[in-house]
C-alpha cells in the first residue's frame, strides 16, 4: 500500500444524457412546466473500477473505443468526478491528454510556452529556467517571436511536445495515445521519450490500443471492456486477451453476416465489394496451420472458391492481407506468380489455394480477395475483408512481421 502512487477504489461513473433538448417554441412551453421532470438516460461509463499503480510503474490501460478508458483517464486527471468511489493520488499529476492545450494563434511562440506551462502548473521562474532547453528541443530557435498562427502544424506540434516533455518533471504522468500521432520522426521522438520515462522510473499511466506499445513499455496493463475491468496483469497476457476479444467479435460478425445472406458488402475498411460480375468469389477461408512460437514456422492457408458466371479465357485470382490498422502487408495473384489458370466455362467453380509462411505477429488480420480477367485489367469481383484470421503468440516482437531470421556471429580479433 505504501508504495502505491494511485489507488482507484471502486470507481463508477454515470453520465446523464437528457432525452431531448429544449429546441422549439412548443418544447419550451411543455418543458417549462416540467423542468424538474425532464427525463434522462443514464449511461454507465465505468462500473466498479478498482486497481492500484505502484511507484515507478508503467501501467497500461487498453480497451476499444467506447470501452471507458478515456473516461477513466479523465477521472484520474481530476477532470471528471467519479459518481461513486474515490481516487487517491500520491503526487503531482501531469495529464497529456492533448498537446498544446490553450495554445493561442495570436500569441507568439514564446508567450504560448509560458501560457501552456502555466496551465500545467509551472511558474514563470520554472519555465524560464528550462526555456532554452524547450526551444532547442523543438528546433524552433528562429521562430519564437513569431505568432503561433504563422507556424506550420508540424511546428506547433513540435513546440507543444517540447513544452510538455521538457517541463513535466512530475511524479505521475497520464498519457493518452493521441500523443503518438504525427509523422514517423515525431512518433520516434515520442517513443524515445517513453523509454526515457521508463529509465527515470516515473509512474506512468498510458492509454492505448496499440498492443505493440503495451508489450514494449508497460509493466502491467488493465483491459477494460463495456465499462468494466476484464483483467489486470502482465502486458503479454492482456494483449492476447485484447486480440481474442476481437476474434470472438469477428466470429460473431461472420455468423450474422452469413445470416444476412451476404448482403452486407462493407468490411472494416469501409471499402465496398465491386466488380463487373463476370465471375464471383463464393467464399474465402483462412486457416492457421501449426503456427507456434518458433519464428517463421507453420503457415497460413488461404483458399478462395470462385465461380465463373460467363466464359473466361484467362482468369486471375489474387489476395492480400492487411492488419487491424489496415496496413496492406502482403499479397499476390496467379499472374504474378506465373501460375496461369485454365479457361473456365460459365457456371464452373474452382479453388485457388495459397500457403503463406508463418511470419505473422500476434493480432487480427483481414484478407481481401479479387478475381480479374484480361491481364488483370478488368475486375470481375473484388471482395474486401472477405475473411479474417487471428494469430496468438507467447513471444511477440513489437514489429509488423515475424519472419524466420537466422543469427550468426564471428569473432574477428582474438
Amino acid at each position: 500500500m505504501k508504495d502505491s502512487m494511485i489507488i482507484v477504489d471502486n470507481v463508477s461513473k454515470n453520465f446523464k444524457l437528457p432525452h431531448q433538448k429544449i429546441g422549439s417554441v412548443k418544447n419550451i412551453f411543455t418543458n417549462l412546466f416540467s423542468l424538474g421532470g425532464r427525463t434522462y438516460e443514464v449511461q454507465h461509463a465505468l462500473k466498479d473500477i478498482g486497481f492500484e499503480v505502484k511507484k515507478g510503474e508503467f501501467f497500461g490501460i487498453v480497451g476499444r473505443n467506447g470501452s471507458g478508458k478515456s473516461t477513466l483517464l479523465k477521472i484520474l486527471a481530476g477532470i471528471y468526478q467519479p459518481t461513486k468511489g474515490s481516487v487517491h493520488v500520491g503526487g503531482r499529476v501531469v495529464p497529456f491528454i492533448e498537446l498544446g492545450v490553450g495554445f493561442n494563434g495570436e500569441l507568439t511562440g514564446k508567450e504560448n510556452v509560458f501560457l501552456n506551462g502555466a496551465l500545467m502548473g509551472f511558474s514563470e521562474k520554472e519555465i524560464t529556467a528550462k526555456y532554452n532547453n524547450i526551444v532547442e528541443f523543438a528546433e524552433l530557435e528562429r521562430f519564437m517571436d513569431q505568432k503561433l498562427k504563422n507556424y506550420s502544424s508540424g511546428m506547433q506540434v513540435r513546440l507543444a511536445f517540447s513544452v510538455a516533455t521538457r517541463l513535466a518533471e512530475s511524479d505521475i504522468l497520464l498519457i493518452d495515445e493521441v500523443l503518438a500521432v504525427g509523422d514517423a520522426a515525431f512518433q520516434r521522438k515520442c517513443f524515445m521519450y517513453f523509454k526515457q520515462l521508463k529509465l527515470d522510473r516515473k509512474t506512468v499511466i498510458f492509454v492505448t490500443h496499440e498492443m505493440g506499445a503495451v508489450r514494449e513499455y508497460c509493466d502491467r496493463a488493465l483491459l477494460i471492456e463495456k465499462a468494466e475491468i476484464v483483467d489486470i496483469g502482465k502486458p503479454g497476457v492482456i494483449a492476447s486477451k485484447y486480440h481474442k476479444m476481437f476474434a470472438d467479435e469477428s466470429k460473431n460478425d461472420n455468423q450474422t453476416k452469413e445470416k444476412q445472406n451476404k448482403s452486407s458488402k462493407v468490411g472494416i475498411s469501409g471499402e465496398e465489394r465491386w466488380g463487373d460480375g463476370k465471375a464471383q468469389i463464393v467464399s474465402v477461408s483462412a486457416k492457421v496451420d501449426n503456427l507456434s512460437g518458433e519464428d517463421g514456422e507453420g503457415e497460413v492457408i488461404i483458399t478462395a472458391r470462385v465461380k465463373a458466371l460467363t466464359d473466361l479465357e484467362k482468369p486471375i485470382v489474387g489476395f492480400s492481407i492487411k492488419n487491424l490498422q489496415l496496413a496492406q502487408l502482403m499479397g499476390t495473384n496467379t499472374m504474378r506468380k506465373k501460375h496461369p489458370l485454365p479457361p473456365v466455362r460459365s457456371g464452373q467453380e474452382f479453388d485457388v489455394e495459397w500457403r503463406v509462411e508463418g511470419m505473422f505477429n500476434e493480432g487480427t488480420y483481414y484478407v481481401d480477395s479479387t478475381i480479374a480477367h484480361d491481364q488483370a485489367v478488368l475486375v470481375a469481383d473484388r471482395w474486401p475483408d472477405a475473411t479474417s484470421f487471428q494469430i496468438f503468440r507467447e513471444d511477440n516482437t513489437p514489429y509488423q512481421v515475424y519472419p524466420a531470421i537466422k543469427v550468426k556471429s564471428n569473432i574477428i580479433k582474438p
Binding site: 471528471y80 491528454i97 492533448e98
Partner: protein
C-alpha cells in the same frame, strides 16, 4: 502557515497571473492605438453622455465638478458590466481547457475580474485627471475609498461566479442578463441625480449595492454634495444593508459555483 497557504494556491496564482496577462495582450491585438483605447473608450463614452444628459437634457447634479462626477459613475458602471458580462460566457468559452485539464475552475472567472480591474485602474487615471482639473472636496475620508472599491469588486464577482456557472446548463442566462443590465443601467444613478426620484423611491434605489457604491465613491473622490445612502436614510448604519446583501450574494455564489464546477467538464 503562510507557506502552506502559498502552496495550496500556487497553481491558482500561476494560472491567474498568466491568464490575466494573456487577456491583456490579446485585448488590443492588431489595433493601432492599442492600450490607449483603455483610456479613450470611457472618454468618448463620457463625451456622448455628457452631451445628451447635461447639455441637451439640462440635468443638474448639484455638484461642483459634474464632469468628474459623471465620468466616475460611468467608469464604475463599465467595470461592473465588464466583469458580469464577461463572466457569463467565461466558463463555456474555456470549455476546451476544462475538458482537458484539471485546474481550479474559479481562476477563469477571477481572471475576468482582474482584467477588468486593470482596466478600471487605467480609467481611474482619466478620472484623476478630471479631478485635478475640475477640483474636488476630498478629505481624509478618501482613505475609505479602497474599502468601497473592494465592495464593488466582490459584488461584481459574486454575480460573475453565479452567472458563469448557471450559463453552463442554462444558456438563456445570457439573454436574461442582457435585459437585466439594461434595467440596471436606468435604476442606477449614473446619468441622473438620485434626488430626481421621490424619497420613498430613493430609499429603495440606493439599497442596490451598485448605487450605494457609486454614490459613496463619488462622495469620497469628487464631491461631498453627493447624495449617499447616509443622507437618504439619515444614518450611517443603513450602509450595512447593501454591504450585507453583497456578502450574502458572494457567499451563495461561491457555494453554487463550487458545487457546479465539479461537473463543468462533462456538462459543457
Amino acid at each position: 502557515m503562510i507557506k502552506k497557504l502559498k502552496n495550496r494556491y500556487r497553481y491558482s496564482t500561476i494560472l491567474l497571473n498568466q491568464l490575466v496577462k494573456t487577456d491583456f495582450k490579446l485585448r488590443y491585438q492588431n489595433s493601432v492605438l492599442g492600450y490607449l483605447w483603455s483610456l479613450l473608450k470611457p472618454l468618448f463614452l463620457f463625451l456622448i453622455m455628457y452631451m445628451v444628459f447635461v447639455k441637451v437634457l439640462n440635468v443638474d447634479f448639484g455638484v461642483k465638478n459634474s464632469g468628474a462626477y459623471l465620468l466616475l459613475g460611468l467608469v464604475i458602471w463599465s467595470f461592473f458590466t465588464e466583469v458580469t458580462g464577461g463572466s457569463v460566457g467565461a466558463i463555456v468559452g474555456k470549455g476546451d481547457l476544462l475538458r482537458k485539464l484539471s485546474f481550479p475552475r474559479y481562476v477563469i472567472v477571477l481572471s475576468t475580474g482582474f482584467s477588468a480591474l486593470i482596466n478600471l485602474c487605467l480609467n481611474l487615471l482619466i478620472v484623476g485627471l478630471f479631478i485635478l482639473i475640475g477640483g474636488s472636496d476630498t478629505s481624509w475620508k478618501i482613505l475609505l475609498a479602497p474599502l468601497i472599491f473592494a465592495e464593488l469588486f466582490v459584488f461584481s464577482l459574486a454575480l460573475g461566479f453565479f452567472l458563469s456557472a448557471a450559463f453552463v446548463k442554462l444558456r438563456d442566462i445570457g439573454h436574461i442578463w442582457d435585459v437585466i443590465m439594461q434595467a440596471l443601467f436606468y435604476i442606477t444613478p449614473i446619468f441622473f441625480p438620485i434626488t430626481l426620484a421621490p424619497l420613498w423611491a430613493q430609499k429603495i434605489l440606493i439599497l442596490n449595492p451598485l448605487a450605494q457604491i457609486m454614490q459613496d465613491l463619488r462622495y469620497l473622490l469628487v464631491s461631498h454634495h453627493t447624495t449617499t445612502i447616509n443622507s437618504v436614510y439619515g444614518s450611517s448604519w443603513s450602509r450595512l444593508i447593501p454591504v450585507i446583501i453583497t456578502l450574502i450574494m458572494a457567499f451563495i455564489a461561491s457555494l453554487y459555483f463550487r458545487k457546479k464546477s465539479k461537473y463543468f467538464a462533462e456538462e459543457i
